[in-house]
């Protein structure tokens, strides 16, 4: 369990990072919580590790524009978890305690989690549900893509081998928003067997005008659906269950493993989806967003 030989660089500017990435046999090193185990198991053997944590503009985080919260590439999950401004994106404090363990979050980065794109990871699911905007720099310059377009499959994204994800911006919550988050794992801190993230928005009269549900741990990536029509079938968990069972049959297509077969993950997804949608709706109507 020792890595094969590699070179290590820690460039001071984004341009230097991009220069090091040119050629495509390097890999960005952020918090190392996923990459280092991959190296130790010799499942990957990049020639160069390009540590992005010394680039000043990549250490920024905070409110941006009128309704955004932006996190750059070198910002640790734990820093965001403790940032009062991150509360404006209620799904961040709801999801963050489930991202591994506190010790891991003190090293792991938010952007690294998106770039790694584990199908059972919480933060890509939150980003997809909220349609967060991902900033990517590469040989062709900088571009912004929505999170749903960014993640293209298990551990794969639209970022190429010469690209670096520089930041992600999550939309902050507004009046009429209600959120839900839940996951089930074998143990606390494990990747989820199935999880759901949802955002429901109601009008002043309490009518649902949009509802989005993202499932994770259930397919090769986080999967997002417009569920406004589903919410018309009921308001309580029990009433929503028939529809979420159908939804589970359609959305859950992972092959499963000894911890959770496809069938069990469908069961969990249907339960969690109904539970969290009912909760998010209630919260939206009561103007409480999360509690």
């Amino acid at each position: 369990m020792k890595a094969a030989p590699f070179a290590y660089v820690r460039p001071p500017t984004l341009d230097d990072v991009l220069a090091e990435l040119a050629g495509g046999d390097g890999k960005v090193l952020a918090g190392g919580q996923s990459l280092v185990p991959v190296l130790a198991m010799r499942l990957g053997r990049p020639a160069t590790l390009i540590d992005v944590t010394a680039v000043p503009e990549l250490t920024e985080h905070g409110p941006t524009g009128r309704s955004g919260y932006r996190v750059a590439a070198a910002v640790r999950q734990r820093v965001v978890e403790r940032d009062p401004a991150a509360q404006d994106v209620p799904l961040i404090p709801m999801a963050m305690p489930f991202v591994g363990h506190r010790e891991l979050r003190s090293r792991g980065t938010v952007c690294g989690s998106l770039a790694h794109a584990d199908p059972a990871a919480e933060l890509p699911a939150v980003a997809c549900c909220l349609d967060a905007q991902v900033e990517v720099s590469g040989p062709g310059g900088a571009r912004t893509v929505s999170a749903q377009e960014f993640v293209t499959g298990a551990m794969t994204t639209t970022a190429g081998p010469e690209d670096v994800l520089t930041a992600v911006t999550f939309p902050t919550a507004g009046p009429g928003d209600g959120f839900g988050f839940a996951e089930i794992a074998r143990r606390h801190g494990d990747f989820a067997l199935a999880g759901v993230v949802c955002r429901v928005h109601v009008t002043g009269s309490g009518a649902v005008d949009s509802a989005v549900l993202t499932g994770f741990g259930i397919s090769d990536r986080a999967v997002t659906r417009d569920v406004a029509a589903l919410l018309a079938t009921g308001e309580r968990e029990e009433d929503l269950r028939p529809a979420t069972i159908e939804l589970a049959a359609e959305m859950v297509d992972t092959g499963g493993d000894t911890h959770g077969s496809t069938g069990y993950r469908r069961r969990l997804f249907a339960v969690l989806a109904a539970r969290e949608l009912a909760r998010a709706l209630r919260r939206a109507r009561e103007g409480r967003t999360t509690t």
Binding site: K2, M41, G189, Y264, R267
Partner: protein
Amino acid sequence: MSDMTAEAAPPRWTPSRDEDAALVAGRGRFLDDLDPLPGTLVAAVVRSTRPHARLLSVDLSRARAHPGVAAVIGPDEVRAALRPFPLSTGAAMPYLPTGVDKVRFVGEPIAVVVATDRYVAEDAAELVAVDYEDLPAVSTARSGLADDAPLLHDDAGSNVATDRTFSFGDLDERFAAAAHVVTRRYEFPRYSSVPMECYSVIAHWTEQDGGPFVEAWANFHGPFSMVPVMAGALRIPTSRLRLHVPADIGGSFGIKAGIYPYVVLLALASKHAGTPVRWTEDRVEHLTASSSGADRAMEFSAALDAEGTITALRADLVDNVGAYLRPPEPSTLYRCFGNITGPYRIDAVGIRARAVVTNTMPTGLNRGFGGQQLYFGLERLLDDVAAELGLDAVELRRRNLITSFPHETATGGVYDSGDYLAALDLATKNADLPELERRREEARAAGAHYGIGTALVVDPSGTNIGYVGLATPAEQRTPGRDKSGSTEHVRMSVDPQGVVTVMLGSVPQGQGHATVARKVAAQRLGLPLEQVRCVIDMDTATTPWTVTSGSYSSRFAPLVTSAVVAAADTVATTVRAAASTLLDDVDPDTLVLADGEVRTPDGRGVKFRHAAGVVHWDPAALPPGVPARLYAEAEFSPRETRAATADDRINSSLCYGFVAEIVAVRIDPDTLEISVDRVSSVHDAGTVLDQTLLDGQVYGALVHGLGGAAYEEFTHAPSGQPTAATFLDYLCPTSAEAGFELLTDHVVSPSPLTPLGAKGCGEGSSMSFPVAYANAVADALAPLGIDITSLPLHGEVLHQLLHDRKDA
């Protein structure tokens, strides 16, 4: 003194054990902290990626040519130099530390690379080219038994490594006359104890006058019967193998007993490298190729009379011991032989005991050794019997409990002491059974699931290694070569200032032996704790040891502390005699050791240290016949643990404690997640030597049991590939999973066989919790008609059970 403490700031943390301050401060001396031999090189092991394959060729040439590599050994070197390890039976299943003609499990060593550091060694290990011819693989006991199963060991002609049948009492008559016969099949899973520190070895082969000499360091904890086994494989006399065990071992729970083949392999690597060689196992190696408990397929039958008294028991046990019958296997079958009927009065017993080889990691000791498997069958059966007879599961147990002691079992066990009814009553009282039953009612009314499970287990300690003999039929056992007993040695000395040193060769793995030994010695010698210290050291060249030495089968409390008492008594005799010279030559036998003094009956006294000083400074003053020696070497070797008899009965342990455990679980009807609601666990370990340490053992064993019951399992794909080879898939419970309500308590039935009355206590709940949990889940799901016959049990498993039922 009191003034000083008044001024000092209050300590922020008082370690509850002598060992803890050093460990918490990073001052432990684990094997990786030691560098005893300059110029030691580092090894990496090349392992099989196939569950079962013929080795067509193993090409070491590129690895040997890699810069920084000192030596590479493979099947040819192993075959040329080593003899297969001596086995416990005559099975034709030769076992060497690497595969030579075939590989039989994923992770089996094939070659060893010795290099300047581990990185280089792993770089070169990748260059070893192995050409495999894949063979079909089996990974479970039942599939290994099948007629058309692929043969692992061609010469054996069968995958059954041992097959013995035993019958005690009028078995057939009892079954024929029974009012009820209940027969069930169960399966117990395979899991480990997952010590934090993995295996670690330093080995040094040298050529000396008279032949090769191997000096090794390993975090091995016995049984030391493996020392001659290692020497045998190395083709050297035991006296030419010197083994050191570091004072600190980061856990084992039996698993590190399986390290010895690596000591042999690394010794051979050292011979080829010409330098000492170090190997530190990594976690993937540990989870695929160290050791684990054996999984077991079993069938149990109970014969009962009309009143619900069990009149006879049949047990058909099939252990999956992995790819080889690695000693001390097949001991999983025999460790609980004397207590195979548990806490029940059953005087007719039939046993068939088989061990099967499969394409999996070899098995061995695991906390609760043999007990978790046995009691899973026995205590699940009790619940199934109760259900079939329409009796309350606790009431059925009460009717059959042993109530007088000592009690001799049908299989030769002699239960030294106990009060099983008192323990059961205390467990049910602490559990507040009526409240749990109310919760069950309430849950069921609300469409949820809640269940209560009980397990009563006899907890053996102080193994009698003679049980290994049972694997060989009585008529084939060599006369004059019987095995028995369980000996422990302790040394003790007193320095010129009266400070007592207890020297333990007990190879602890974190249990706190030093804390308890020091306390026992101080109490016995009437000394303040500060005047006693404990040194842990095992060096087979200088520490007294026997084949039974080691830290396993909860030996410390019954055996080692008894030897501490014996050593202290020897020291005390000399100290009393020396004191008498300072006390007008009073009769030494009238003197008492208390409060750091040696006192006469009329209250005069001299300090212990002054008496000790006489022996050091003025030995000529000692009374005639008193040795001028404040150095004692004492042994405790109980005679109650004899070799197996000609009719195959054996008292397989010295002491038998008891556990009564009640577990209540709640099951979410939607997600099927199981959560433990309350556990009430009552232990009888005889005299309690240290409450904190006993509690620690109870909690630790219980959470270990929770691991096997709900989280941990070595699973395999149909191809035979292990599917739990990292901590991503092999899930150990953490503190977050152990937050349930746990009520522990004790009854105390001192053992008449140990001077302090203490019995072992390191394993109890690891035997009781898995089955108590299964019984609780079975109770919760009984209304759904679901039968629980195996572990682990978690949401996915329940989902499949419900699904299967719907299909039916």
